[in-house]
């Protein structure tokens, strides 16, 4: 029992990331009808917004410390971040410590801007082209984006820790009457889960309760009619692309303490998020969220020692196995509509 609760918890934060990426992917697909293979790269760029924030905050000047030497035997140059210089070591240190949450401030304008630029500069010209072309051009863009990141940040993962206030883990087990140390769950993962719920809730509320969202939903259902009503649907769709990019970016920023960002993390998530979207049903937002959490939790269950000893390697294939079973039993995924992407 305790093991099951533990794995559900572990599945939740994996599922949060899947759900957020799949949500953005579905927004783009549902509104613009474009299959965006660069979405994983957007997630990755979001993560690097956190890295950039960390770098910005720890921008330093050099002080020479004559008492110590560097590896060549010269006097050591100690780097002192400007923030610490300005605000003193305590407050300055705290600001640097909080660079991941502060990365959100950077990520929102960067991601929305990038989303606009992508849509206006590239994707716009591909609305009428076959899906295969869209896949290829966004895939090319994904490669370009990740290589640019690699050029500036290198290939090695970069540690971006959570604020120290969130380090360590919470003992859920004692709450539920289990022994201590049986069900532990890191604070930051809780933060991530709550954060993703807020974002998901926000996106749904935005689509449900604003006029803008209503128009977009109408556009998703029938683009032509909305256009005939004299509504400039294209501009709104551009905004949606920016929104979807921001969702992916925020998912990336907050995920950095869990997964040290590297330049190819987008590709690692890309395939997975497509499976999630398809399992949820192309074009269905609730489907994407549901499938994200479902696959995250199933993956955690498959990683249990008890399961692994029964079926070796099940943790490596579970996602795909589930995708196959669902697509064969529910032809359009969990909540998909008929006729979407079937030609």
């Amino acid at each position: 029992m305790d093991a099951i609760i533990l794995q559900i918890l572990n599945g939740l934060d994996k599922g949060s990331a899947y759900a957020l990426i799949a949500l953005g992917l579905t927004l783009i697909f549902g509104t613009l009808g474009v299959v965006n293979f660069a979405h994983g790269a957007l997630f990755m760029i979001g993560a690097f917004c956190a890295v950039t924030m960390q770098r910005l905050l720890s921008l330093s000047y050099e002080e020479i410390d004559p008492t110590r030497t560097d590896f060549l035997g010269n006097p050591l140059k100690v780097e002192v971040p400007y923030v610490e210089h300005w605000f003193g070591p305590d407050l300055g240190g705290a600001i640097v410590d909080w660079s991941v949450p502060l990365g959100i401030l950077l990520a929102i304008p960067v991601m929305i801007g990038l989303g606009f630029a992508m849509e206006r500069g590239l994707i716009k010209h591909f609305y009428k082209r076959p899906h295969a072309d869209q896949i290829l051009v966004t895939f090319g863009l994904a490669i370009v984006l990740q290589e640019i990141i690699k050029y500036f940040f290198g290939a090695n993962p970069i540690q971006t820790g959570a604020p120290s206030a969130f380090s360590g883990s919470f003992d859920f087990g004692t709450l539920l009457g289990f022994d201590p140390n049986v069900i532990i769950y890191p604070y930051w993962r809780m933060v991530y889960f709550l954060f993703s719920l807020v974002i998901i809730g926000g996106v749904f509320a935005f689509l449900q309760f604003t006029t803008f969202g209503m128009v977009v939903r109408a556009g998703m259902a029938d683009r032509e009619t909305v256009g005939l009503l004299g509504i400039d649907i294209d501009r709104r769709f551009t905004l949606m692309f920016g929104l979807a990019a921001a969702v992916a970016g925020l998912a990336g920023v907050m995920y950095t303490p869990i997964l040290a960002p590297n330049y190819h993390m987008g590709m690692d998530f890309l395939v997975l998020s497509f499976v999630v979207v398809v399992v949820g049903g192309m074009g269905s937002l609730p489907g994407a969220v549901l499938a994200g959490f479902l696959l995250g939790i199933l993956q955690s269950f498959a990683s249990m020692n008890e399961v692994k000893s029964l079926i070796p390697g099940i943790d490596q294939v579970i996602i795909y196995l589930v995708a196959i079973v669902i697509l064969l039993t529910r032809p359009r995924g969990l909540m998909g509509r008929k006729g979407v992407m079937e030609d």
Partner: protein
């Protein structure tokens, strides 16, 4: 000739001539010149051209004709390779049994996966094939290590039985004593041409593969497949069941992939699990679309394009750049090298990504379309007269699919 129209015969003969002359055509720069870096006429790369050409031709039969986009064809490539290496281990280094078996086994594998995946269409089909291939890769890399030797790749050990290998048999892949690795080098002035047995073996296979694909394109069966791409629903309404046709196309392209995988192992007796990864499946998709999906020559061009980049551009380092621009003054030289630096060597992915985007944006029909445009331009020049503008932008007739 060969049951082809005169035009197709000419086309086939040109392809045969190009294939056989590849070792010369790909070696345009004299040895030792600073442009020799761009020569591609060495056995390994030429073999890769032929093999990935076969892979892409096969993929095109499925994707180009029926429009079903499979993201899992690398699985068949891997199965073919593993089969051939296992045959080396069990029987001996003769490539024939392995190659035959690799086609058979990959066909069986394709039949199974195709039968299940083809129950769905569109992106659902793509994800199903992707799921099968990724499962194969993940398992081959880890759990199935006893069969596949995992990360290291399956290879032949001295302790393997090799029951058919005689005492005097070659100790590397061969076809009845014709060792694949052997080549003859011809020094012609400053040029060095390498004629490799393995390449010519692959080349013959590639020509055969091309011929079969040409016949399929021109056959009623091919017409049926194209009809599926154009409008499957309408086809179903006329009372035709399209499933057997798509399944047949899927299995045929799976066999092509298996043959290509087998040939990879026939040239180099090692089968790595990465061959089955989704990136490898993605690569053949890129090759086909980049070259021109649905055209006969396109996939081969795309395969050559990508393999050339992977092998030639990744080897250009700063030292070589400095060598090229050594004639410039130092400051300018460093500047130009710094400009090129991000795009070559470790940055070859970046160049490839940019080129993908450019081709897709400006040449929707792939490289074949680009060549057709150039050809038309040349012809117009030849016939004289300025290019007649079309002020009303009337739609021009789309080039025939299989040109």
């Amino acid at each position: 000739m060969f049951g082809l129209s005169a035009r197709d015969t000419r086309f086939l003969l040109i392809v045969i001539a190009l294939t056989l002359l590849t070792p010369i055509l790909l070696q345009p720069f004299p040895e030792g010149s600073s442009l020799a870096q761009f020569n591609a006429g060495y056995p390994d790369l030429m073999q890769k051209f032929a093999i990935f050409g076969i892979f892409a031709i096969g993929f095109n039969i499925l994707f180009g004709l029926t429009g079903y986009l499979s993201f899992g064809h690398a699985a068949f490539l891997g199965v073919g390779s593993y089969t051939v290496v296992w045959m080396y281990k069990l029987l001996g280094y003769n490539v024939l049994p392995g190659l035959l078996l690799s086609v058979v086994i990959s066909a069986a594998f394709a039949l199974l996966i195709g039968f299940i995946s083809l129950r769905r269409s569109g992106i659902y089909f793509s994800i199903l094939t992707l799921a099968f291939a990724q499962m194969s890769y993940n398992l081959a890399y880890s759990v199935l290590t006893p069969i596949t030797n995992g990360e290291t790749g399956l290879q032949v050990y001295a302790s393997d039985p090799q029951i058919l290998a005689g005492s005097g048999a070659p100790t590397s892949p061969h076809l009845f004593g014709l060792v694949m690795r052997n080549s003859a080098q011809v020094d012609l002035g400053g040029w060095v041409f390498t004629f490799n047995v393995g390449y010519y073996f692959c080349a013959v296979m590639a020509i055969l593969a091309f011929y079969i694909s040409l016949r399929i394109f021109r056959s009623p069966f091919g017409m049926m497949l194209r009809a599926i791409k154009t409008n499957q629903t309408r086809m179903n309404y006329t009372g035709l069941n399209s499933r057997p046709y798509t399944l047949a196309a899927f299995v045929i392209s799976g066999m092509y992939a298996g043959l290509a995988g087998g040939l990879l192992a026939a040239m180099d007796p090692l089968a790595g699990a990465e061959r089955m990864q989704w990136t490898a499946s993605g690569e053949v998709v890129l090759m086909t679309i980049l070259g021109g999906a649905g055209t006969l020559m396109g996939p081969v061009l795309g395969a050559g394009f990508i393999k050339y980049f992977e092998n030639i551009f990744s080897k250009i380092n700063d030292g070589i750049l400095h060598g090229w621009f050594a004639f410039l003054p130092d400051g300018l030289e460093d500047f130009i090298v710094a400009c090129f630096h991000p795009f070559v060597g470790k940055g070859w992915h970046l160049t490839l990504g940019i080129l993908f985007m450019l081709v897709v944006i400006f040449l929707p029909g792939g490289l074949v379309e680009g060549m057709q445009r150039i050809w038309r331009l040349v012809r117009r020049r030849k016939s004289g007269g300025p290019k007649r503008k079309d002020p009303e932008h009337r739609p021009t007739a789309a080039p025939h699919m299989a040109e």
